[in-house]
C-alpha cells in the first residue's frame, strides 16, 4: 500500500505543471508541487519538459520569410469596384 496522499499529489501535480510554469498557482499550491517534485522523478522531469515545451512553442514564432499574399485586399478592392466601397455605417 502506498503512502497516503501520495497518489493524489502525483496526479494533481501532473495536471498542474503548466499552471506552475505559468505562475498561476497560489503559494500553498506551489509549495505542494515543489514538495512532491523533489521526491518524484516523473514530476521533476515533467516540470523540465513543460518548461522546454513552452520555450519551444514560443520559438515557433517569427515570420521567417512568410509574407501575406499580394491578393489579401482583393475582396476589399472588388467590393469597391462593385459600388459598395464605403464601410457599413460610414
Amino acid at each position: 500500500m502506498g503512502v497516503p496522499g501520495r497518489t493524489d499529489d502525483h496526479r494533481w501535480s501532473q495536471q498542474h505543471l503548466s499552471h506552475y510554469v505559468e505562475g498561476d498557482l497560489r503559494p500553498r499550491a506551489r509549495r505542494r508541487l515543489d514538495r512532491h517534485a523533489r521526491d518524484c522523478v516523473d514530476c521533476e522531469r515533467g516540470l523540465r519538459a513543460m518548461r522546454a515545451l513552452v520555450y519551444a512553442v514560443q520559438g515557433l514564432n517569427g515570420l521567417a520569410g512568410v509574407r501575406a499574399p499580394a491578393t489579401i485586399f482583393d475582396r476589399v478592392r472588388a467590393a469597391g469596384a462593385g459600388g459598395s466601397s464605403s464601410p457599413r455605417g460610414a
Binding site: S18, R48, A52, D74, V76, R88
Partner: protein, 221 residues
C-alpha cells in the same frame, strides 16, 4: 456584391467601444504611432480604402502567419485572409478603439478561421491540417546536430498542434506562439481570461503528452 452575413456568435468587436480618436487626444501633436493609427482608423471609417489598406497592411504578414498556424493550409489561409480583410473593411465603422486595432483584426481572423475549420469538419472527406504550416525552419546559427534535434522537435510540435481541437489550438497559438498577453488572447478568442488559461493549460498538457518528455527535455537542453 452581397455583404457576408454577420457572425452571430461573435459580435462585431468593439461595437460599444470608446471612439478611436480619443486615443489621439493624449498625443495632441499627432506624432505617435497610436495617433497615426487613430487617424488611419478615422480615415478608413470615413470610407478611405487606401487608409484601410495602410492600416491593416501593417498587420498583414502577422495575420497571415496566424491563419497559417490555425488552418495549416496555405490556400485556405489565403482565402480566409481575404475574407478577414473584407469583413474588417465592412465592419470598421463599428470599431471604437476600446481594444487596439490589431486585437480587433485578430479577433475577426480567429472567428473566420474557426468558421473555416467548422466548414472543413462538415466535409465528407475531411482535409487534415498540414503540419508543415505550423512550424518554421530552425535558426541557421545552430550547429547541425542541434539543428536536427530542434527540427525534429518542431515537426513533432507541429503535428501535436495540428491535432488539437480548434479552441485549444487558438489558445496556445495566441498565448505561447504569438506571445500575446492573457488579456489580449482572451479578447481575441472571445472568452474570459480564466477560460483562456484553462484552454492554454489543456493544450499544453495534450502537446506534452503527444510530443513526449524525452524529446522535449533533450531538445530543450
Amino acid at each position: 456584391m452581397t455583404p457576408p452575413s454577420r457572425d452571430e456568435r461573435a459580435p462585431e468587436p468593439g461595437a460599444t467601444e470608446t471612439p478611436a480618436t480619443v486615443r489621439a487626444a493624449s498625443d495632441p501633436a499627432g506624432t505617435g504611432p497610436r495617433a497615426t493609427e487613430a487617424s488611419l482608423v478615422a480615415r478608413a471609417q470615413a470610407g478611405d480604402a487606401g487608409a484601410f489598406e495602410q492600416l491593416s497592411g501593417a498587420y498583414a504578414d502577422r495575420l497571415f502567419m496566424l491563419l497559417l498556424r490555425l488552418l495549416g493550409d496555405r490556400a485556405e489561409a489565403e482565402d480566409v485572409a481575404q475574407e478577414v480583410m473584407l469583413r474588417a473593411w465592412q465592419g470598421i465603422a463599428g470599431f471604437r478603439g476600446r481594444s487596439s486595432y490589431f486585437t480587433w483584426l485578430y479577433r475577426i481572423a480567429v472567428n473566420e478561421a474557426n468558421r473555416a475549420l467548422e466548414k472543413r469538419a462538415r466535409r465528407p472527406a475531411g482535409v487534415s491540417i498540414g503540419t508543415r504550416e505550423l512550424q518554421l525552419p530552425s535558426s541557421p546559427a545552430d550547429d547541425p546536430s542541434r539543428q536536427a534535434e530542434v527540427s525534429e522537435l518542431r515537426l513533432a510540435l507541429g503535428r501535436a498542434l495540428a491535432e488539437l481541437p480548434p479552441a485549444l489550438r487558438a489558445a496556445i497559438v495566441l498565448r505561447d506562439v504569438e506571445g500575446l498577453s492573457t488579456q489580449e488572447a482572451a479578447e481575441i478568442a472571445g472568452v474570459s481570461q480564466a477560460a483562456l488559461k484553462s484552454r492554454l493549460h489543456q493544450a499544453r498538457l495534450r502537446v506534452r503528452a503527444a510530443v513526449g518528455d524525452e524529446a522535449l527535455v533533450t531538445a530543450g537542453g
